[in-house]
């Protein structure tokens, strides 16, 4: 077949682009070309793999909107309550912070435990990143969100209440860490009822913290330095227990299968 000369069907426009004569364009060939280009592009994209950081931050959009909303409401409620308390010379601020910090942990538990509740571990375990990394990403994202909001909160309230920064930090971190310890220690037991047990244990602990701060005034009885040491220990334990949950992640599938 004789090839068409370029000048027959295409000419340069004023801007320098080549303009094709529409009468020689065949729609079916155009569609074929588009489909082929798409396929080549897909093949290239397929070769690319997401890195660990991309995976972790990508998980943000899969954490339920309800969990983020509850966190925002708890922080907002804490701000409003403390704003009101400021007018009454700061009385009861430690109790409000204790309850809010406990609620932050308690409301995040269903999100952490959702794989087991919905029996989604099997599919997740068979993926490239797997259940372990999914857990790790979730812990990291929820923890980071709390840390960011807590920093803003501590800075604001230490100004409002004219209290030292580290005192507010202790009021927030002691109930937060102790609640995490209670909930995660129950969860690591890998019982089918772990989630409800952790939530019940957490609710009891919240009541205990409320009582200890409000009526026993434990923050006044123990020196801040001691709280610092206790918090350091709590971080070590939390690292251990989170590590254990992540390590056991694949085993969860086997435990559930044997139970069924």
């Amino acid at each position: 077949m004789k090839r068409r000369k370029g000048a027959d069907w295409a000419k340069k426009s004023k801007t320098g682009y080549i303009v094709m004569d529409e009468s020689v364009l065949k729609p079916e060939r155009l569609e074929e070309t588009v489909a082929l280009s798409k396929r080549i592009l897909m093949e290239r994209e397929k070769e690319k793999e997401a890195g660990m950081l991309e995976f972790i931050f990508g998980q943000m959009r899969f954490i339920s909107k309800g969990t983020w909303a509850v966190k925002a409401v708890v922080f907002l409620g804490m701000f409003l309550a403390l704003y009101g308390i400021r007018l009454e010379e700061g009385k009861g601020a430690d109790q409000v912070i204790a309850v809010a910090a406990s609620l932050l942990v308690l409301t995040a538990m269903p999100e952490i435990w959702k794989n087991i509740r919905y029996q989604a571990m099997d599919v997740e375990s068979c993926t490239r990143f797997g259940l372990k990394k999914a857990y790790l990403a979730r812990f990291l994202l929820l923890g980071m969100a709390d840390l960011c909001m807590a920093t803003v909160f501590v800075l604001c309230t230490s100004r409002w209440l004219s209290s030292p920064f580290y005192q507010i930090a202790v009021w927030l971190l002691v109930p937060y860490n102790s609640m995490l310890i209670v909930c995660l220690s129950i969860m690591v037991l890998r019982k089918r009822t772990s989630e409800s047990m952790a939530e019940a244990g957490g609710a009891l602990w919240m009541a205990a913290v409320f009582w200890l701060t409000g009526y026993l005034h434990i923050y006044e009885k123990v020196q801040l330095f001691m709280w610092g040491i206790l918090l350091a220990f709590s971080y070590v334990y939390l690292g251990f227990v989170i590590g254990k949950i992540v390590k056991n992640a694949n085993g969860l599938s086997e435990v559930e299968y044997v139970r069924n």
Partner: protein, 290 residues
């Protein structure tokens, strides 16, 4: 090649899978067995969800448990009970699994659209999974299993809950995909594997009883499948003493298709065995219990 080398799984004193040796190359393998035969346990070991008590599973020569991420990257799995997050839409669910499979954003979105279309869920992509029918959930499960274009596709009872039309479409889909990968699908529905499986593995009491193509398996029963017209009394006697594959009321009595090494009645005629007859030969008692 996927090698299953002397694999056993013991729960207490009970062997769910016992000394299974298999070598799977590209193609469709139908794992046929009654409930409790050990199909799911074997599949879960292939998917690294269970550790074998004995033996080893290797892919391209490397033990799958040690290969970890490298092996899971080429794996697609649809479990029997497919768990999903009810608050997710079908599209969100596939994107979530794509993220876990390490797929990049743009490719994941394009692949999600492509697969939703392939399993006829494109119009329900934005619908929450909790509102899906059983068949729709199953189709979504199949889509998530093939998202990463896996080299090994393990499907546990994939056609459960699908209507006949969906079942045929599923079979065609698997046939199409099987050219470039190992597909292992378990079922106790004979017609699911009869048309698409290159090799059928019959599993009973945790062991592979026999394996081969349809012709080889049916060949084992040649001269043992009989068709005979009987009276009610004769039929009742035959049902007690032989494995009866089919019973049909006809004019002049009951037409039975049964398996017997000897001629069961004077008027009995040998017929060509089908895969269903093979299934009944191995699982006659279990099938009756089910």
């Amino acid at each position: 090649m996927l090698e299953i080398d002397g694999v056993s799984k013991k729960f207490g004193d009970f062997y769910a899978v016992e000394h299974v040796h298999l070598q799977l190359e590209k193609g469709v393998y139908g794992l046929l067995g009654a409930n409790g035969a050990g199909k799911t346990t074997l599949m879960r070991m292939i998917c690294t969800l269970l550790n074998p008590t004995e033996g080893e599973i290797r892919y391209e020569g490397a033990p799958v448990l040690k290969a970890g991420e490298g092996y899971r990257k080429v794996l697609g799995y649809l479990p029997q009970d497919f768990g999903y997050y009810p608050q997710f839409s079908a599209e969100e669910y596939l994107l979530y699994i794509a993220a876990l499979k390490g797929m990049k954003g743009n490719y994941a979105k394009a692949r999600t659209r492509e697969l939703l279309q392939l399993v006829s869920l494109e119009k329900a992509g934005k619908k929450k999974v909790k509102n899906f029918s059983g068949g729709m959930k199953r189709r979504l499960g199949i889509a998530q299993a093939v998202l990463n274009d896996p080299e090994i596709l393990v499907l546990d009872e994939p056609t459960a809950g699908l209507d006949p039309k969906e079942r045929i479409r599923f079979r065609n889909l698997i046939s199409e995909m099987a050219e470039e990968r190992i597909v292992l699908l378990s079922t106790h529905i004979v017609s699911d594997v009869e048309n698409i499986a290159n090799k059928i593995l019959i599993m009973k009491n945790g062991k592979i009883q026999t394996a081969g193509g349809v012709e080889r398996l049916t060949g084992e029963l040649e001269g043992m499948v009989w068709k005979c017209l009987m009276t009610h009394e004769e039929a009742a006697y035959a049902e007690e003493h032989y494995t009866v594959c089919n019973r049909k009321k006809e004019e002049g009595g009951i037409m039975l298709t049964l398996i017997s090494k000897e001629k069961p009645a004077v008027n009995a005629k040998v017929v060509m065995p089908s895969l269903e007859d093979v299934y009944m030969y191995y699982f006659g008692e279990e099938a009756e219990e089910e």
